[in-house]
Amino acid sequence: MAAFVGLFRHDFGLALRQGGDTGLVLGFFVLVVVLFAFGVGPEAATLRRIGPGIIWVAALLAALLSLDRLFQSDYEDGGLDLLALADLPLAFGVLAKTAAYWAATGLPLVAISPLLALAVDLDAAAIPRLVLSLLIGTPALSLIGSVAAALVLGARRQGVLLSLLVLPLYVPPLIFGVGAVGADAGGANLMLLGALSLAALALCPWASAAALRQALE
């Protein structure tokens, strides 16, 4: 347990000190939503209709951005070998790193989403639903992304490959996340999103650990 917390604090502290990842993710998030608003036009009705979709897609793309750095630096300097040989099971080590990654990139997205909800003229009742859906959904995005990040270690053109790998896997959280913002079927979608995140929490660390062991062989 101490090892888990220690690893989480180490990675999270590193992310905070460097600051680059958080800023990049936030900036990209805001940029995509604003660009969509420019592309689609200022008409409020259209923006309100597609607003949740835009925000969720932007969050998804932003969550992807620094994913390849999740394991890369440890892979290069040998930290991953140490992690694999440590007493802490590799799956828990992966979970600690992913949790730190989510805290550094996913949480800021959730925090800034009310502002962007205003930008797309989302009605006031939907904003808490949006924040809740992002809060529950972004862990799933980070966890699924960690599997893909572990798979592409050592590959050529990691960034492009990573995006191609996660695209089909991100479709369910996206569908349920956007659905959760709507009023009518919001409850069921939120439940399904929560189920997805819990399933990802249970399964993804093991898949990532398996992929990391393949990379270290």
Partner: protein
């Protein structure tokens, strides 16, 4: 960077790579459809050399039989099958679209089972089989999407419609592309095969989730029902060409699978021979340079 010494597997003797940590992969599900075929592969073709001998005999027969069945299927589909009451002659596209869809899914299940065999039982031929099968599945998926689009244009008026089935097949296509990109992205093909195995298993577990979510998404956004072909039961005059084409596509898959596996084993053996042959003269030339008396 992690260049540890590894024994180069000799396909003639069977791959003798041992598991680095012995821990099996933990995520897989057994599927029925391929169960019998899998067991046959495991018992009879476990030895690569034996596989080469057996496939050399089987390949021409598979090829000839598939060609004959496909020819029969095309004849039935284009000449014998009746035109549909609503859709007219356009329904003949179904005889290409539906068997391709079935094969797209079946081949992905094959890739997943082969990946499970590679990860869990370290079967020497398993990841070669998975890597050989994936492009065939991707080709079937593309044919399904393209023929579906060509079918949709006269029927629904648009080239693409976000129908639950077509959208699921599109996501499946991306799963295939991701798998193929991943296994080809590494300089070491074995590393690519191992990474691909994990991805295939992750993908197969996600497949029902993706299908469910796309169905869900479709019913929420498209209350109008989409034209369904055939209805719950398809009459025999339409079913027969469908089944024959499906059998023909299945035979085509087996033929191409055997062909691609033989190619992969050939290339593997050639690489092993080349590396083994290159090492000998290099060692011989290095020895005098390494001796302390060389004075380099």
């Amino acid at each position: 960077m992690n260049e540890r010494r590894r024994r180069i597997p000799d396909p003639a003797r069977g791959c003798d790579r041992d598991a680095a940590d012995g821990r099996p992969s933990l995520r897989y599900k057994k599927r029925f459809g391929e169960g019998g075929f899998r067991r046959a592969m495991l018992s009879r073709f476990a030895n690569p050399a034996r596989f080469m001998r057996l496939s050399a005999v089987l390949l021409p027969w598979c090829a000839g039989l598939s060609a004959a069945i496909i020819a029969l299927g095309l004849y039935l589909a284009l000449f014998v099958a009746p035109a549909d009451y609503q859709q007219g002659e356009a329904v003949r596209i179904m005889y290409v679209h539906v068997p391709a869809a079935w094969m797209a899914l079946l081949v992905y299940l094959f890739v997943a089972v082969a990946s499970a065999a590679a990860l869990v039982w370290r079967h020497p031929l398993a990841d070669i089989a998975a890597r050989a099968a994936a492009p065939i599945g991707a080709a079937f998926t593309f044919v399904c999407l393209a023929s579906g689009s060509l079918w949709g244009r006269p029927m629904w008026g648009t080239w693409w419609v976000w129908d639950a089935r077509l959208t699921s097949v599109l996501v499946l296509f991306f799963l295939y592309l991701g798998y193929i990109a991943l296994v080809n992205a590494f300089d070491n093909p074995d590393r690519g095969g191992r990474a691909g195995s994990v991805l295939a298993l992750v993908g197969v577990i996600n497949l029902p989730i993706i299908k469910f979510s796309v169905d869900w998404w479709n019913t929420l956004h498209q209350p109008a029902s989409v034209l369904r072909f055939g209805g719950p039961t398809i009459a025999w005059p339409m079913l027969a060409p469908l089944l024959v084409m499906a059998a023909g596509f299945g035979g085509l898959f087996v033929t191409l699978l055997l062909l691609r596996m033989r190619t992969a084993l050939n290339e593997k053996k050639a690489l092993a021979l080349r590396l083994g042959g290159a090492a000998a003269p290099a060692r011989a030339s290095r020895r005098p340079a390494m001796s302390p008396a060389a004075g380099r």
